[in-house]
């Protein structure tokens, strides 16, 4: 870059001197080739400037939308962002993954204990062994050593979704079914 700057400064200096000193101007050869070269140079530089503009955004003040009411948060929307973040990163995030899993497990245990009318410890065992639900994916998500079914493994591999995210979704759905069952029995009371 430096040599280019030096050449540019020198060229401009020669131009200024030539404007006053006719001798120097006469020494320069205004031949067709030189004029064409200068013209080409100008055209190329111009196109460069113009195309640089294309990649730049216009900066204007963001006026916002004062007409709308402030939007309320939907409970759990921050959790969705967290789930998406944790599920997409293939490596790392181990701690957040297990924290989320614990949270789901706690809800599952509470619901199983209520639905089966058993102690929390028994419910925890049921969740650990995977017998709390019919859904093998949901069971595998919370169980210690139950593997995901082959069908799910294939599906996850094809769709590119992470196994963790799929398992979490299925587990929460399974809890929803347990929960709905539970309130059904509550109704009979």
């Amino acid at each position: 870059m430096r040599p280019l700057v030096a050449v540019g400064v020198a060229a401009v200096a020669v131009g200024f001197v030539a404007a006053f000193d006719r001798g120097l101007a006469a020494a320069l050869d205004p031949s067709t080739a030189v004029v064409t070269l200068v013209g080409l140079f100008g055209a190329v530089q111009g196109l460069r400037y113009a195309s640089a503009r294309r990649s730049r955004d216009r900066r204007t003040t963001d006026l916002g939308e004062p007409e709308r009411r402030v939007r309320a948060t939907v409970p759990g929307s921050d959790l969705d962002a967290e789930i998406a973040r944790v599920a997409s990163s293939s490596r790392g995030g181990y701690r957040s993954r297990s924290a989320l899993r614990d949270r789901v497990r706690e809800v599952a245990i509470a619901n199983v204990a209520r639905e089966r009318n058993c102690s929390t410890a028994e419910a925890a065992r049921a969740v650990e062994s995977g017998t709390w639900t019919d859904d093998p994916t949901a069971a595998a998500f919370l169980a210690d050593d139950a593997p995901y079914p082959l069908r799910v493994r294939l599906r996850v591999a094809v769709s590119g979704e992470s196994r963790y995210g799929f398992g979490l979704r299925t587990a929460v759905d399974a809890i929803g079914r347990v929960e709905a069952d539970g309130s059904g029995t509550e109704a009979g009371r």
């Binding site: 100008g42 400037y49 007409e67 948060t73 939907v74 509470a110 009979g188």
Partner: protein
């Protein structure tokens, strides 16, 4: 409250706050085009092309030399009704008068509609050009909702004629604009209270014998007992004199505690009514119902801003309560930015709470803090009833998980001996299970939303006093 007035009076002297001038980059690249045209013209030996390029240079100079003018505007804002009822449309008229000497060739004005209000008719903005002394007027309508709403400064963006630079100015109107919307408190039904009462007569039946209407016990006659209270049947049977004891009905002291922390500003849909609004509405119903029943009622909020209306009775207190619920900054329609210190708040709340007060706690219960607070207050001897508007949704996995956690919290509270009622939400009838069978099928249906009064009436049947 006092802080706001201070900042407003500070803003009186400089009504206009000029922000900054920024380059918009609108004419970026025109130099390049000009240079390219000139270059091509030189190569092709075409003087017209060189001339066209010179026009481009002219534009570049035009863009460089201009300067964004300062928007020296005087703004007056008038509202058609400063104290509307909820749901009313209020027309807002904004007049901007160019008080400076400069022409404003490109001016955009965006009004600072309060965050809790929604503009329903027309945008709250205008694009115009103003000569010195000229005035621009625009009009829009907002739909009023509960609360005191203050307008924020109008934002003016002035650009130079070429549009290459712009300057933002925030302009306060000459007199601060605000509307106060105080809803009428709907009369609620009978709200069951728990057995913690004052020494005054009222409606809450107690386990104490005395004068009342319901039979409580008999005891031996003591000299001076009124003749109407003597059990004459027994006298006829056994010849002994005995006196009837009736169940005493006493008044209770109730504090309505509304959860107004930032986490309580949640709703099942982004545009829906927040749980705070639902809580305030329900608290209003409870307030009228309890006051009408002769109980002493106070109001407090759980949130960063302090709000405390000591328990009282009478029509002045009723008016004060209505005003507190409508316009107290602690219950504003949008969350406050201040930090909330839970232990400090709890200490202050306990100090203020009369010993014989019970607490009706209105909270969406979407975090553990609310549930543990309810148990703590209960443990300190102030019987707590949790009234929880259901603000959870079922659309996504996260929504559902939070919903299940909230349910679990409600059950935990109930098993800890704290009364809990929930209302609203997408699946009404869950509480009593009357529609339990079809519930899973109509999960998305919003038709089942249950009102506060219905939920309370239904719960009352299950509760024993």
């Amino acid at each position: 409250m006092s802080e706001r007035v201070d900042s407003e009076s500070d803003a009186e002297s400089p009504l206009r706050q000029v922000r900054r001038e920024v380059e918009t980059g609108r004419w970026d690249g025109v130099v390049g085009v000009a240079l390219a045209l000139i270059g091509v013209g030189v190569v092709a030996r075409q003087p017209p092309l060189v001339l066209v390029g010179a026009v481009g240079v002219g534009y570049a100079l035009h863009a460089r030399l201009g300067e964004a003018p300062e928007a020296t505007l005087d703004v007056t804002r008038t509202v058609s009704d400063a104290s509307p009822d909820p749901g009313d449309e209020v027309t807002v008229t904004v007049r901007a008068h160019n008080a400076g000497d400069a022409v404003l060739p490109d001016l955009r004005l965006v009004d600072g509609v309060p965050p809790g209000l929604e503009a329903v008719d027309g945008p709250a903005r205008v694009a115009t050009a103003l000569a010195p002394g000229a005035t621009a007027t625009f009009e829009y309508a907002v739909r009023a909702s509960r609360g005191e709403h203050r307008w924020e400064p109008l934002r003016a963006v002035a650009r130079d004629a070429a549009g290459s630079r712009e300057r933002t100015t925030d302009i306060e109107s000459a007199s601060p604009t605000r509307i106060v919307c105080t809803p009428e408190l709907a009369a609620g039904g009978d709200l069951p209270l728990r057995g913690l009462t004052t020494t005054y007569h009222g409606r809450v039946p107690t386990a104490v014998g005395g004068s009342g209407v319901e039979f409580h016990a008999t005891r031996e006659y003591r000299r001076g007992d009124p003749a109407t209270r003597i059990d004459w049947n027994r006298r006829a049977r056994t010849g002994e004199l005995s006196t009837l004891e009736l169940r005493e009905e006493r008044a209770a002291t109730v504090v309505l505690l509304v959860d107004a922390r930032e986490s309580a500003y949640v709703a099942p849909e982004p545009d829906a009514e927040t749980a705070v609004e639902a809580s305030v509405g329900a608290a209003g119903q409870a307030f009228t119902a309890l006051l009408g029943g002769g109980d002493r009622v106070g109001i407090a909020t759980l949130g960063p801003l302090d709000c405390w209306l000591p328990p009282g009775a009478g029509s002045v207190h009723a008016a004060r309560g209505r005003e507190t619920l409508a316009t107290d900054p602690a219950l504003a329609p949008t969350p406050s930015d201040e930090r909330f210190y839970r232990s400090l708040w709890f200490r202050r709340f306990r100090r203020r709470l009369p010993v014989d007060a019970q607490v009706l706690f209105f909270t969406p219960l979407v975090d553990d803090a609310a549930a543990s607070l309810a148990r703590r207050i209960d443990a300190h001897g102030h019987l707590v009833t949790v009234l929880s508007p259901d603000a959870t949704a079922t659309a996504t996995t996260g929504n559902r998980l939070v919903r299940f956690e909230r349910r679990a919290r409600l059950r935990e509270l109930r098993s800890a001996g704290i009364r809990a009622v929930e209302w609203g939400g997408e699946r009404g009838g869950q509480e009593s299970g009357e529609r339990g069978g079809q519930e899973s099928g109509e999960r998305e249906g919003r038709g089942g939303a249950e009102s506060f009064a219905v939920a309370v009436a239904r719960a009352t049947g299950r509760w024993s006093r």
